[in-house]
């Protein structure tokens, strides 16, 4: 049973436009959510996170929105740049449970077209 779902395996966006990556989760015990970015042959790198007590977190061009009632979060990248082309993973954790193990979605491959 997949607890974190990224239903779009790929997304193509024109440079300068907004990229919106979506993620749904089923486990209401998750209390912290993260987005990771992964280039080929490299490990994932942390991008941005959000606690369940918030509904928005912004860092430069990246904003994450959390809708707890819908169990949905999204990552907005604006403006999109060619260097943003990578696979983006949504992850969730139950930090208060003490383990902090991350449950990942399968990823969305973003292609930003110059």
């Amino acid at each position: 049973d997949q607890q974190v779902k990224q239903n779009s395996p790929s997304l193509s966006v024109q440079e300068g436009r907004i990229s919106i990556l979506n993620c749904d989760y089923t486990n209401s015990m998750f209390d912290y959510f993260l987005w990771y970015k992964k280039y080929p042959a490299e490990g994932p790198t942390f991008l941005i996170s959000i606690s369940s007590i918030k509904d928005k977190n912004e860092d430069g061009r990246f904003t994450v929105f959390l809708n707890k009632s819908a169990k949905h979060l999204s990552l907005h990248i604006v403006p999109s740049q060619p260097g943003d082309s990578a696979v983006y993973f949504c992850a969730a954790t139950r930090g208060r449970a003490g383990s902090y193990q991350l449950t990942f979605g399968k990823g969305t491959k973003l292609s930003v077209i110059p």
């Binding site: 993260l34 490990g43 790198t45 942390f46 954790t93 902090y100 991350l102 449950t103 990942f104």
Partner: protein, 112 residues
Amino acid sequence: GAGVSQSPSNKVTEKGKDVELRCDPISGHTALYWYRQSLGQGLEFLIYFQGNSAPDKSGLPSDRFSAERTGGSVSTLTIQRTQQEDSAVYLCASSLDGYEQFFGPGTRLTVL
């Protein structure tokens, strides 16, 4: 070193052989995680070490998998009697606060 390092970067082995994968976490990080990513899948949690506490082994897929963390630093993931379904990229991560995990480049394991 500045980041998490893993060795080897690639490992090809024959079915039935044992393999050892190594992880050097960021200095000072008390938490260490192992994940694996099979083809077309997301990252799957395997095991978690935190300081001197007993590890959380809840993600290990079978008793052929084991891991150690010596001296609170370097960790070794051992897979005994490898099977073809063990082929994946094995990723190690370390963390200071638990939430933000820093990943190594991974070891690509291929079992023939």
